[in-house]
């Protein structure tokens, strides 16, 4: 099996396209950081840091200078008011509570919020760059089986003394390995770029665990988010892998996977108010929603997400394996 994965890995990286995609991913990560630093840094409030040359029109709509303590106090008062309102949903209540507690914690421990982009905040925001890594993994996952059919090499591959399920497994492992590699590349690139372009504030991430606010190292936090995102990449890869094993044309497989992947969010949005949305694959293709609190569909939880995703994974893999091992090769 190791040799088979070695084969697939070699074929993957001997293609120019694979390298181009990797370079794109790195450039995109660097580009995002660049845009944040030089173009839209003004979004991060006043230039209290002093060393960043953000030019701002004086006066204007900006309220007179407030200290961060005043801002946090105002925030707490506002949340208090909101919490007293009637008919709050449980999720809303939880969210206001969380925000209020974090503000209180900042005041108590004298921890000013980041007033501008720091290495730490970039690390956490870089999680969105993983969408690119996911997309690349879809391309690879959809193409790894389909391209053998497109190029006609499948008949050379399947007339070896290796059973078909072993070949498929080696391809699946290669795709998952690729997904992890892309996540690691994104993480390392963002860490390096984040610490070069931005100043480190040295603060920890403030985490609300439901009862109280705790401090968490930024590294652990970002690794946690990346881990959740890696699971996203895995499940999306297996989905694209299934499409690629069913459709024998490379372009078609990649196209269909991408299309369905992009449409997934829209479908979830339209079915938002129906119970069925809780059992859709696409409701759970982003697991970081449970970590950041921006849950897509109310009433879904991480355990439910894992349960639903596991069922889908079993179905997707079963389809891939059955189709691939039973098929008559006529290519």
């Amino acid at each position: 099996m190791l040799k088979l994965v070695q084969n697939e890995w070699m074929k993957l990286w001997r293609k120019k396209a694979t390298w181009i995609m990797l370079i794109m991913l790195v450039l995109f990560t660097i580009g995002t950081a660049g845009i944040m630093k030089w173009v839209s840094n003004s979004d991060f409030g006043d230039s209290t840091g002093g060393n960043v040359s953000v030019k701002k029109v004086d006066g204007g709509e900006k309220a007179p200078e407030l200290t961060w303590q005043e801002v946090e106090k105002a925030n707490i008062a506002e949340k208090d008011k909101m919490l007293k309102e009637d008919g709050l949903s449980k999720a809303d209540k939880e969210e206001w509570n969380k925000q209020k507690s974090i503000s209180e914690y900042r005041l108590k421990k004298d921890l000013p919020p980041d007033s501008e982009m720091t290495s730490e905040s970039f690390m956490l925001s870089s999680i969105s760059t993983l969408a690119i890594a996911t997309m690349l993994t879809i391309v690879i996952a959809a193409g790894i089986v389909a391209s053998e059919f497109s190029e006609g090499t499948i008949k050379m591959l399947l007339t070896r003394p290796v059973k078909r399920w072993k070949i498929l497994t080696s391809k699946l492992l290669t795709v998952l390995l690729y997904g992890v590699a892309m996540a690691v590349v994104t993480w390392i690139t963002s860490s390096i770029v984040g610490f070069i372009l931005f100043d480190s504030s040295g603060v920890n991430y403030l985490k609300w665990n439901g009862d109280e606010v705790v401090e968490q190292s930024i590294w652990i936090r970002s690794l946690y988010l990346y881990l959740l995102s890696s699971i996203n990449i895995f499940v999306t890869a297996i989905f694209a892998f299934m499409i690629g094993s069913v459709f024998r044309s490379n372009a078609l497989a990649i196209g269909i996977s991408m299309l369905i992947w992009f449409m997934g969010g829209t479908i979830v949005f339209f079915l938002k108010n129906y119970e069925i949305v809780k059992y859709l694959f696409f409701t759970y293709t982003d697991l970081t929603q449970f970590a950041t609190g921006n849950v897509l569909v109310e009433g879904t939880t991480m355990p439910l997400a894992f349960a639903v995703l596991s069922v889908y994974m079993v179905i997707f893999m079963a389809i891939s394996y059955i189709v691939f091992t039973k098929r008559d090769i006529t290519a």
């Binding site: 084969n7 074929k11 007339t159 003394p161 290796v162």
Partner: protein
């Protein structure tokens, strides 16, 4: 020669979408023998070959390779087989060497030395480290043969192997096949449209039509000797043949007579005695093409027999 067949097709049938593509095919291939596989387009050659290498599953019947079923013992059975199915499609973005390395990893006992050995055998030493995308068709065929030989197969199955080879390459290829068949006792199964090629290469031929094996014959069995005789056109030659009790038929501008070599002087003398001008008397061999057309009735595309 060994009498135990290395490959046996037993009551092999294949239905595709309700149509019977292959009917109850039985065939045995023996070590050291080169068998040609002929049939008009659509007769089921490729389907048969694909079933023999496990790319398609038979609807019923089985294929035994060295006594092991390709269906229940795929890995054991196929490890004794070398395959080129139609054009050998290699990974174009890899070098020839990487391609061989790739396929070698999928076999249990293929060493680096063995890779180098097959490269030498197919004469690709000079270009083996270049990408396959830069290869000519003939070089790809050679690489295809190299990958088929990697595992020292006991049974070599080739679909259109000489397609794209130059005349020197074809001859070399033919001699090489002969050599491994004779020296290593490899059973070779070749399908080709080039009948003259099959004729030069094979010990026997199997002919398939409409999914059925219609003929199986040894190539060097002595057919009835024929002579081609061409005389002046207005000669009343048929009566002479009839009088002499010779079987004859019209062929091109002259006549084809079935006669032994020793009968020829007498025929010529009788023609000369009647003052008939003789333009040509040649020994005549029916080519495989003639035989093939005779057997398959013109070789039109086989009609799909539905059931």
């Amino acid at each position: 020669m060994n009498n135990k067949p290395i490959v046996e097709l037993k009551n092999l049938s294949k239905n595709i979408k309700g149509k019977k593509i292959i009917h109850d095919l039985n065939l045995a291939l023996y070590p050291g023998q080169i068998t040609g596989f002929l049939g008009p387009n659509g007769a089921g050659k490729t389907t048969t070959i694909r079933m023999m290498v496990g790319l398609m599953k038979p609807t019923s019947g089985d294929i035994l390779i060295d006594g092991q079923s390709i269906q229940s013992h795929f890995e054991e059975a196929i490890s004794k087989v070398g395959v080129i199915v139609e054009n050998p499609e290699m990974y174009k973005y890899l070098t020839g060497y990487k391609n061989l390395e790739h396929f070698a990893r999928m076999n249990k006992n293929v060493s680096k030395a063995r890779i180098d050995e097959v490269i030498r055998q197919v004469g690709l030493e000079k270009r083996i480290h270049e990408k396959v995308s830069t290869y000519s068709l003939g070089m790809r065929q050679r690489l295809g043969l190299a990958q088929a030989l990697l595992n020292k197969p006991k049974f070599l199955i080739l679909d259109e192997p000489t397609n794209g080879l130059d005349p020197a390459g074809i001859r070399e290829f033919r001699n090489y096949l002969r050599k491994i068949a004779e020296e290593d006792g490899v059973a070779v199964f070749v399908s080709s449209h080039l009948l003259s090629e099959i004729e030069l290469m094979c010990d026997r031929i199997a002919v398939i039509q409409n999914g059925k094996l219609i003929d199986m014959r040894e190539m060097n069995t002595n057919e009835q000797p024929h002579y081609y005789i061409e005389v002046e056109s207005n000669a009343n030659i048929t009566t002479i043949f009839a009088d002499a009790g010779i079987v004859y038929e019209q062929h091109e501008k002259g006549w084809l007579v079935q006669a032994e070599k020793k009968q020829i002087p007498a025929i010529v003398q009788s023609l000369v005695a009647r003052d008939i001008n003789i333009y040509a008397v040649n020994p005549y061999h029916k080519t495989l093409e003639d035989q093939f057309l005779e057997m398959t009735g013109g070789g039109q595309i086989a009609e799909t027999s539905s059931k």
